[in-house]
């Protein structure tokens, strides 16, 4: 099967650099799948599950925010955070979800606090759905 070259970088460095057969991730506009010989393409990423198919096997990760660009068949994914499924601490994600829900349940919180808690809840939900 044909492949394309994929690099995934975050602020903490390069997390994936190699040949892949397929990349699926969530953009601000919905899920996209990138296959070899994709046209030049650029979009911003949302929060969600991402997976990379390498040699017929899927590797799952939680990917939040950033940019996806395809240029001359080179695929670059620049993520705010990228966590492989095996690295996610499920207990921590659950704790974070409960904390966010508790904050949201209070009535006297400011708009800003609500926003932060919502973002935290979203991240926690993404993480715990991906962790096995």
């Amino acid at each position: 099967m044909s492949t394309f070259h994929l690099t995934v970088v975050t602020l903490d460095g390069c997390v994936f650099d190699g040949e892949a057969e397929r990349l699926i991730c969530r953009t601000i506009d919905g899920d996209v799948a990138i296959l070899p010989r994709h046209i030049d393409y650029c979009t911003a990423l949302g929060m969600g599950e991402a997976h990379i198919e390498v040699n017929g096997e899927f590797r799952y990760a939680a990917c939040m925010g950033g940019l996806l660009s395809v240029l001359n068949g080179e695929v670059r994914l620049v993520a705010t955070t990228w966590e492989w499924a095996d690295d996610i601490d499920k207990a921590r994600a659950e704790a974070s979800r409960r904390r966010a829900e508790r904050i949201l349940a209070q009535e006297d919180i400011s708009e800003r606090e609500r926003e932060l808690a919502m973002a935290r809840l979203k991240r926690a939900l993404v993480r715990s759905s991906i962790a096995k």
Binding site: T7, V9, T10, L11, D12, G13, C14, T27, I28, D29, V32, I39, D40, Y41, C42, T43, A44, G65, G66, L67, S69, L71, N72, R76, V78, T80, T81
Partner: protein
């Protein structure tokens, strides 16, 4: 004579213990420097990819408008000043303040200090402080940078200031670090022919639209710049401290040598005098 010998001895002791401290600080700085440089190198590709993409978007679409691209009349500037938490690093902190103050002359400005020395410097009403939520530069994480980027982007869009500049120290090599000023917002569009041509050659599909992609990426890009600036600054601080402490250790060694020499001279003089006294006594 015995008194001045004692004073010399105690002075040598205190220099010796200072030398021990400076040597320890040098060692600590050089071991942490390696990690700081690694962190800096890791953050580099992230910034480069984002920067290239933003430039490409800005280059292809000449008629495209973004709130981050528009240049408005500059009434107020926000400086993000990144320095260390501690002194004893030669001119490291001072160079940054000097550069910032030169640039800010005659302008209306506010400061977002990062690092304890920065807060101390601009505190006490010396400058208007935009936020003092980032007191220690050493343990700022990626998420803190995103928080900071969000803060300044929101304030920029609200019009609380019209440009954002970051003052940090660029790490050139272990021996040279340079205080640098960088314009963060409004986004500076590179107008080179090369950039335009490379952008024209590739027709890129932007989803949902180039404007939306641009606006979604900008906060990310700014967080990347801030994080990069912080990594550079931390590495520079450690390198500057290493150099300063190295010089201090050397100076202490030289002082010790000199003092040792005069101590030995004094001691010899005392012995000679005693011998002369004994001989004179026995002859009498």
């Amino acid at each position: 004579m015995a008194g001045s010998m004692k004073a010399l001895k105690s002075r040598m002791k205190s220099i010796e213990s200072t030398r021990q401290i400076t040597r320890a600080m040098e060692l600590v700085a050089s071991s942490r420097l390696r990690r700081a440089r690694e962190r800096r190198d890791n953050a580099r590709p992230h910034f480069e990819v984002l920067y290239d993409t933003l430039q490409d978007i800005a280059a292809v679409n000449t008629e495209f408008r973004s709130r981050y691209l528009a240049r408005r009349e500059i009434k107020k500037t926000c400086y993000v000043v990144i320095v260390g938490d501690r002194g004893l690093a030669g001119g490291y902190n001072h160079n940054v303040f000097k550069l910032m103050e030169e640039d800010a002359q005659g302008k209306e400005y506010c400061v977002l200090p990062v690092g304890r020395k920065s807060i101390e410097h601009y505190g006490h009403g010396k400058a208007e402080i935009f936020s003092d939520a980032f007191p220690t530069v050493a343990d700022l994480s990626v998420s803190d940078c995103f928080e900071m980027a969000r803060l300044i982007c929101d304030a920029y869009l609200e019009g609380r200031f019209d440009e954002i500049k970051m003052v940090y120290t660029e790490f050139k090599s272990i021996l040279t670090q340079e205080a640098t000023l960088m314009e963060v917002l409004p986004f500076h569009r590179e107008k080179t022919e090369e950039r335009r041509q490379s952008a024209r050659k590739h027709i890129i599909l932007y989803e949902p639209s180039s404007e939306e992609v641009f606006d979604a990426i900008i906060p990310e890009y700014i967080a990347g710049i801030l994080y990069g600036g912080i990594c550079e600054s931390v590495a520079s601080e450690l390198a500057a401290r290493r150099t300063a402490m190295n010089a201090a250790t050397k100076n202490a060694g030289e002082m010790l040598d000199k003092l040792n020499l005069s101590y030995n001279q004094l001691r010899q003089a005392a012995i000679t005098q005693e011998i002369t006294e004994i001989i004179a006594g026995s002859e009498a």
